[in-house]
């Protein structure tokens, strides 16, 4: 019990010491996760909307592919990314292995199916209803598109924040493609895993607290934009 309390005490000392190494790790984590979330949102939101709203042959198979991809094991994604970007791989000449870019690619591969799947599942019925009502009220394509995005804004935010949560808490894939190199590709999760194995619990706890705080802030943002605040925005039935 004592070592836990000592760990917590040490964690707070570390957080308020404004240690340069700690905060560079935090910033790199945020940068990598944010970049991969943006890429995933740009691909996943339109893809999920389009395939969710439209009816086409093979939609059921596609939905099964989405759901499978949502649960992709991170180490497998890491391995596939390494095979592609390693020196002997098809993109080996670009020299991406053990760089933050490689980590962004791996996280994007993990997060895109999550964003796509959430948008796809929830826009299937609601999106069609919005298009239908716009049609009966005489909206043209432009008006319908604007309404669709406005109405599905809470859903898009939920998907994006969930994706960010997945990215920032990811360890397996970034460890494989990034290599946890000090000052270069070391992020919070890989640092926690390493410190823990070395018995440095105070550092692990400090990073854990920062990770939880980031998660709390992103979720608070989501809550304010969807269910709270003064803008009257409500989530319909996602």
């Amino acid at each position: 019990m004592e070592y836990i309390l000592e760990g917590v005490e040490g964690a707070f000392k570390l957080i308020f010491s404004f240690d340069r190494e700690i905060y560079s790790i935090v910033l790199l984590s945020i940068y990598v996760s944010f970049a991969s979330t943006i890429i995933s949102a740009f691909i996943g939101v339109p893809l999920g909307l389009l395939t969710g709203i439209k009816d086409f042959r093979g939609k059921i198979i596609l939905s099964k592919i989405y759901y499978t991809a949502m649960g992709l094991p991170p180490v497998v994604v890491g391995l596939v990314t390494v095979l592609i970007i390693s020196r002997s791989g098809p993109l080996g000449s670009v020299g991406l292995i053990y760089t933050p870019t490689a980590m962004i690619i791996a996280q994007s591969l993990l997060v895109t199916p999550i964003v796509t799947g959430i948008v796809f599942t929830n826009s299937k019925d609601t999106g069609r209803e919005i298009i239908e009502i716009c049609k009966t009220l005489g909206a043209n394509r432009k008006h319908t598109f604007v309404k669709l995005i406005k109405e599905l804004k809470p859903l898009i935010l939920v998907a994006t924040v969930t994706g960010f949560g997945r990215a920032i808490s990811e360890v397996g894939a970034v460890m494989i493609v990034g290599g946890n190199i000090k000052g270069h590709t070391r992020v919070m999760t890989t640092f926690i895993a390493m410190s823990n194995s070395m018995g440095n619990y105070d550092i692990s706890i400090a990073m854990g607290i920062i990770l939880l705080t980031i998660s709390f802030i992103s979720n608070s943002f989501l809550y304010n934009r969807t269910m709270g605040g003064n803008n009257g925005y409500k989530i319909r039935r996602y």
Partner: protein, 231 residues
């Protein structure tokens, strides 16, 4: 003259849910669409409202292609989607789609809000309303642009009995004032008798009677007689 449906067919999973040979729904009157559950009423209305594609057949309106009037036609169901916005913005939406001037929009929305006695809901988010209030907002929104054809699926399904009268008198006055062609899908035979000049009776995807309301009331068909008695 009116809405002419020719050989309209619709199948779902190999089962024919609608098979209409030839029918003309008169313009400028209120027509009721009656029939038991699964008789194809909503499917037929959704096809007329351009929300469903028929597998075959065509619709002609006053001798011209039906597509030409799709902007002046609207469809309201008992659980129509309301936008995640204020009641005012919901009612104003069709007018904004038509890029009307703000002063006209404001005047028209206020007029409809007064007509449906929903002044107290003006700034409320439409998603926070009760079922009956949502129904009134859906109707007000549908009427905002004075449609030529108004299709309503169960117009008073969630409405408080006190307001059923208000909705019925509003529909009647709109029909009289603007000569709007109104098609009402309902289970409520008494309501259809109060409101409609003509009634289309459907069973198993087919129209088994299309007549004046009085003729339907006096129908000798045992199924229709039984349906009227039970509803």
């Amino acid at each position: 003259m009116g809405i002419k449906l020719e050989d309209i067919k619709k199948n779902y999973n190999g089962k024919t849910v609608l098979n209409v040979k030839d029918i003309t729904i008169k313009e400028n009157i209120i027509t009721g669409i009656l029939g038991p559950n699964g008789s194809g009423k909503t499917t037929m209305m959704k096809i007329i409202a351009n929300l469903l594609e028929p597998d075959s057949g065509s619709i002609i309106y006053n001798g011209q292609c039906f597509d030409k009037i799709k902007d002046s036609l609207t469809y309201v169901s008992h659980n129509s989607y309301l936008f995640n916005d204020t009641v005012y913005e919901n009612i104003a939406a069709p007018l904004k789609f038509r890029e009307k001037e703000n002063s006209y929009i404001e005047k028209r929305v206020k007029e409809l809000i007064r007509m449906f006695q929903i002044d107290y809901l003006n700034d409320k988010n439409a998603l926070n309303l009760s079922g009956g209030e949502k129904q009134k907002v859906s109707l007000a929104r549908a009427l905002s642009f004075n449609p030529e054809i108004l299709i309503i699926d169960e117009p008073t399904a969630n409405i408080d009995p006190n307001f059923i009268k208000l909705i019925e008198s509003t529909l009647k006055s709109i029909n009289e004032k603007y000569k709007t062609t109104i098609l009402i899908v309902t289970h409520n035979t008494a309501q259809s008798f109060r409101l409609c000049q003509e009634i289309v009776f459907m069973k198993d995807g087919k129209i088994i009677k299309h007549s004046s309301t009085n003729d339907l009331i006096n129908s000798k068909d045992t199924f229709i007689k039984e349906f009227i008695k039970l509803n």
